[in-house]
Amino acid sequence: MKTIISVINLTKSYGSIKAVDGLNLEIAEGDFFGFLGPNGAGKTTTIRMLTGIIEPDDGKITIAGNIYPNLKPILNMIGVVPESRGFYEWMTAKEYLLFFAQLYNIPCPHKKIDELLGKVNLSERKNSAIATFSRGMKQRLGLARALVNDPKILFLDEPTLGLDPQGQEEIQNLLKQLNKNGVTIFLSSHQLNEVSNLCSRVAIINKGRLVAQGTISELQKKTNLAGSLKDIFLALTNNNHV
């Protein structure tokens, strides 16, 4: 399959701390790619570099044929649920999505927004101010915003954080559906069950370095562990902070 995201020797330091250290990744079009690592491993920094929000110190990023720093053309084809959960709290859910739909010049934005609010199960609260939303509802609204431009690539940084089990299930089903429709998904998550249920391929990083990459069965072979993704993750990161 055609490679849609390619990362070669990606490096980023904050002062003396190497947040990402010589990272290499290759993600094929249509992949559901899981990106795992303990806290502070460099997952968010990697996503921010891939989306052009943080400048890498070194390395080469290619997304859909566009090489960093010329990533502007990808803005219309990516959707991002970032780690920072800033919302215009005074807006209603509908106004919020409408604002972003207008930034993307989406034709017939109202129809699109109603459809998205339905997908993330927020239709009943579409006219409520975001300030009144729970954390989980804001997560779902953030996902709806990321989908407003029908992205080809979706970057998700802990998308189910703060969601109840039903909410997680709904989002996971939505993501499965999106992937089935051809959307490449880059999922950073601490929920190892979620990653093993959803992702076709997985990369594990620790202290900014890639420690393993492949399908779960490939990782099982590599670690000689027949257990769950959690066992593999712990074995590779030698860290219990999952």
Binding site: Y14, R48, T51, G52, I53, I54, E55, P69, K72, L75, N76, I78, V80, P82, S84, R85, G86, F87, Y88, W90, M91, E95, F99, F100, Q102, L103, Y104, G142, R145, N149
Partner: protein, 256 residues
């Protein structure tokens, strides 16, 4: 695209009561000043044109102060409330972002000006100076406010902190406003004279004096005051362009 940013900011001003509160405060200050000018035993002895000049100074002074405070947070808030990341992940252009915010701040000045119209009308009743008064408060206020907004936005893009931007903006405003309070004797000093000629706030007040007290109402007669104001706007614009160029998408998020 700037229209979306402009409308968002205008709605925010209304939804969060921030804008309405500023307008109520402006109205209260204008009411108090007009009341004192018309009823206070000593102030009411002033010539009517002097009263109008004082009110004009208060309208523009309040406008500059409120806009300085308001504009200090309008850009920085996007970074402080972590909304900038989502915003800059959309295909928004920097010039649209800045222009939308600039129009929102400028709209706030227009609202303050509209609130001031009844006070201008009452104070200038019985003179032929209502229209020159109205036009010059609008013209000088708009040029002055525009220059200050651009200056503050440039500072805001460099600092990305409301507190630092607000402190710097108020210091600049104060530093420019204080010399206008100096006595004429003090201004006779050649250095003070040069400072007065390049100071935008001083030029606004001098032009108002020229129009309302000396009845020099044509633009030509006020060119010597308006030109430095336009120059100030030009310098502020260049500074804003520089700050915008320095701003990169890769840098929206502060290093952790």
């Amino acid at each position: 695209m700037f229209r979306n940013i402009w409308l968002k900011e205008l709605k925010e001003q209304l939804y969060t009561w921030k804008g309405t509160l500023w307008l109520v405060i402006s109205s209260l200050v204008f009411s108090l000043i007009s009341y004192l000018l018309l009823t206070d035993k000593e102030l009411s002895l002033l010539d009517q044109t002097e009263m109008m000049w004082m009110l004009a100074k208060v309208i523009i002074g309040i406008g500059l102060l409120i806009i300085s405070i308001d504009a200090s947070s309008i850009i920085s808030n996007e970074f402080e409330k972590e909304t900038a990341e989502s915003l800059f992940l959309s295909p928004i252009k920097m010039k649209d972002f800045v222009l939308g915010k600039l129009l929102a701040s400028l709209s706030m000045w227009f609202f303050i000006f509209i609130v001031s119209i009844p006070y201008i009308l009452v104070t200038s009743a019985g003179t032929k100076l209502f229209f020159p008064f109205l036009i010059y408060v609008f013209l000088l206020g708009t040029i002055g406010v525009l220059g200050f907004i651009m200056l503050i936005f440039a500072i805001s893009l460099l600092f990305r902190s409301s507190k630092n931007t607000l402190t710097t903006s108020l210091i600049i405003l104060l530093a420019l406003a204080v010399p206008s309070l100096f006595s004429t004797t003090l201004k006779n000093n050649s250095f003070a004279n040069v400072l007065s000629k390049v100071n935008p706030v001083d030029n606004i007040f001098s032009s108002l004096d020229n129009v309302l007290v000396d009845y020099q109402t044509s633009l030509l007669q006020n060119g010597q005051f308006i030109f430095p104001l336009v120059l100030f706007c030009l310098i502020a614009f260049i500074f804003l362009v520089y700050a915008s160029k320095r701003f990169k998408r890769a840098g929206v998020v502060k290093h952790e």
